[in-house]
Symmetry: C2
Subunit: 482 residues, 2 copies
């Protein structure tokens, strides 16, 4: 709501969420598309009339039949992200999106070409025998986000390039548009990739930059996911799943795929989506919990699943979603989560915390570029975590809070605010933002939770915390033979 004035100022970037507005937006796009088609037909004709260009083969739009796989093995493309100073003087062919286009008079134009989050500056300069003035005009009139094939020579400029990720330039010989974008898109990628800090800084300098709002981003998701930060987020999401799996597979777990269409609800606590299954009532699984437990009863020993979880909840916090991807683990424990694992030197509890440590380590090591891309738009500090994860008992947590003047019920649950406070205290005392709290009060855990042998008010269960927020929870239970 605070940006409603901006929304009016930049109507194409700030559509309303309502259905009516969405329809209007669609109609507008359709109108633009038609106008574009009409104008390109006209301008094409006009240009031909204007002047015949002997260098016309070096640029233009590639007609569909020419894209149709005529060359079975063609000239190889170089990825934009792979362009570097070592390739100076080399002739390259790249394909990417025209992210920004800028004409300098009639003889020169710059195009920033982006491929998977990496960008390179391409320079088109009028030159006898290769680049005509019409070609410069064609390039200057490209629609942003169009896909272009660029052929040219790689040069290294004397001063650093600000507007692109690669520190080289392509001196363009040929440029063809492979797929033309609408002349006006609801999201400008440069705007969508901007950080709050940049917008604030510009504002202080008297310049008002466009802020792309969350609703616009969600309505035009296919455009928004092209930003370097979003490319990074999806890359990291993929990597998180990969590390999670590799770690668990190496510890003797197998991956299962439990049914999502089930006859009853899987957990009591959360609302369920109901549907008709060929005349019989069915539900969408709110958790793989029961099927994981069946796998353990079925002698699988150690299982995990990465899959969708459905909850028909009406909550509006960032911790509640109707559909999300759950990372679920279930394992047989012989006596206690402090017992030694299969290989005699890893405690079962270590599997839990080492899983996370492996994930943090691996993301820091293999996703540097992704983390940097995210950090440019959404600055963050690296996570503080210990090599040997801190395990605190619930009682110790309660005591730490008490010492800090926060009195809570030692047999009750922690609320969000108290969790955040405890996170602060743990960071101050132990220097970690990642820790595990165990021996929760029995009364606040599910019915199947195993009580502690030395105190029946406590239970063999634990929660995993990151930056004062619950990351996951676990419960030990009694499993039965059949």
């Amino acid at each position: 709501m605070t940006t409603s004035s901006e929304a009016d100022a930049h109507p194409s970037e700030q559509p309303k969420l309502s259905k009516k507005a969405a329809k209007k937006e669609e109609a507008k796009l359709e109108k633009l598309r038609r106008r574009l088609e009409a104008s390109s037909a006209v301008s094409g004709a006009a240009e031909e009339e204007e002047e015949e260009d002997p260098l016309a083969a070096n640029y233009g739009e590639v007609p569909l039949p020419d894209l149709q796989s005529k060359e079975e093995v063609g000239e190889p493309y170089t990825e934009v992200g792979a362009l570097g100073e070592g390739m100076q003087g080399r002739s390259v062919l790249v394909r990417g999106r025209a992210q920004a286009i800028r004409a300098v008079g009639k003889k020169m134009a710059f195009v920033v070409v982006r491929e998977r989050g990496f960008t390179v500056q391409c320079v088109v300069t009028e030159q006898e025998g290769s680049v005509s003035r019409q070609m410069v005009k064609f390039v200057a009139s490209l629609n942003r986000e169009s896909i272009v094939d660029v052929r040219g020579t790689l040069t290294v400029p004397s001063s650093p390039i600000k507007g692109a990720s690669q520190q080289v330039e392509i001196q363009v010989h040929k440029l063809h548009c492979v797929s033309k974008a609408f002349p006006t898109l609801p999201i400008n990628l440069e705007g969508a990739a901007r950080s709050e800090a940049e917008i604030e800084k510009a504002l202080q300098a008297g310049e008002q930059l466009v802020r792309v709002n969350q609703d616009t981003r969600l309505n035009f998701r296919v455009l928004d996911i092209r930003t370097p930060a979003n490319q990074g987020i999806f890359g990291i999401q993929s990597q998180v799943g990969n590390i999670f799996r590799q770690f668990l597979l190496s510890e003797g777990f197998i991956e299962i795929h439990t049914p999502k269409l089930i006859a009853g609800s899987s957990e009591g606590g959360s609302a369920v989506f109901k549907l008709d299954y060929k005349g019989r009532p069915a539900c969408l699984a709110q958790s793989p919990q029961l099927h994981k437990q069946m796998s353990i009863c079925g002698d699988f020993g150690r299982v995990f699943e990465i899959g969708p979880v459905f909850r028909a909840e009406d909550s509006y916090t960032h911790r509640h979603l109707c559909e999300f991807t759950g990372l679920d683990v279930e394992m047989e424990i012989k006596k206690h989560y402090f017992e030694m694992g299969l290989d005699f030197y890893v405690q079962v509890m270590d599997i839990v915390d080492q899983l996370f440590v492996a994930m943090f380590d691996s993301l820091n090591a293999s996703c540097k570029k992704e983390l940097e891309a995210i950090g440019r738009q959404y600055p963050f500090e690296p996570l503080k975590y210990l090599r040997k994860t801190l395990w605190l008992t619930f009682q110790e947590g309660v005591q730490m809070l008490k010492d800090a003047g926060v009195e809570i019920d030692p047999l009750g649950d922690l609320n969000t605010e108290v969790e955040r406070k405890l996170g602060q205290l743990v960071l101050e005392k132990y220097g970690t933002e990642f820790y595990i709290l165990h021996r929760y009060p029995l009364a606040i855990r599910p019915f199947y939770t195993m009580p502690c042998y030395d105190n029946r008010a406590s239970s063999n269960s634990f929660d995993v915390f990151i930056r004062g927020k619950l990351l996951g929870h676990s419960t030990c239970q009694q499993t039965f033979s059949d």
Copy 2:
């Protein structure tokens, strides 16, 4: 239906599918459970009266409080699958299920203990100072599938052991029942693990063995998945996903998780499950197709997904399921699937077939035990496949069929029978059961399929075949800028 007489002969192993029968079954189990509890209480009391056993600590049922995590670090367990001749003379502790129990007089009993598909024979012999006659009696009266802790010394018998996977025996000193199974289970694991061939062979020798039917297996899935073959199948399923992922990640793909709750149907062809999404109509995704394509438009380049797919189909073939786990791949191709990939020496088409070759190779190498376990119950021949996968054009396939006297429409689709026939012909001519058929007639592929440049009746699309059956299909298409 052909086994209905058997069902009567072995009522506990062959329950009917009807609800009434299922209820009856449940009631019966409940009755048995009560009887068991009563009898064990009585017999326990009777035994005490009978004779006080000074060795009573060496056996018996472990009461729940004793299981409750008292020892934080206890004696380590050895996995049954790890027991081998090299450990002769060593004292071991194993936990597993009592799969088969056999008493030999009053002084000796054998128990086959199973853990995750591996089995070991345990021998309990009356012995002064350690094993009492009451202990032998206790062991002989164990319910099958109960979980037991067995302590004993490992010996290597002079002749091979037939009834267990491990070629060693445990001379038992202590045996405790950790979790007691019902005295009669609807599935006997030895019966459930039996191959058709064994049953036939026994029949010819005049012995009628129990055949556990598919409906019984599905009704008591948690028992059936304990068979070595099913343990193997789930292990391989896990590994298939793993290889698929590792191969694609190494080729620059990222893993995505697309929404399963969507506003409209994802593909025209198949029926859809509808549900109410907070007052608005929603569907379960029949395919990640559209979201994969949006990922490509969103500049991800190469994506894949392993996740549930929902189809409200009424077909009753083994190739149709209402819910299954789909392995989906989508990639940007610059011109043709014959073009060179990112690294300049792998053709895009190679990614497709090498994905499968990597999977076959890796399963053969890393899942030997699982494949053997499956083969014992369901014998099969190893798959014949080539290092360099055979790619045939649709036209070549039609010609091969024609030469073999099978006339089909060169612009039509192949039916299941013709596909099987072509599989045979390919195996005879090329010695492979795995091949790819490409350049399908355009008319029978989805609307977005790219026609071939040299023949508009054909298309840039292919299907992957294994043993004459369709394994997957692919379509090249034109993607747009926005």
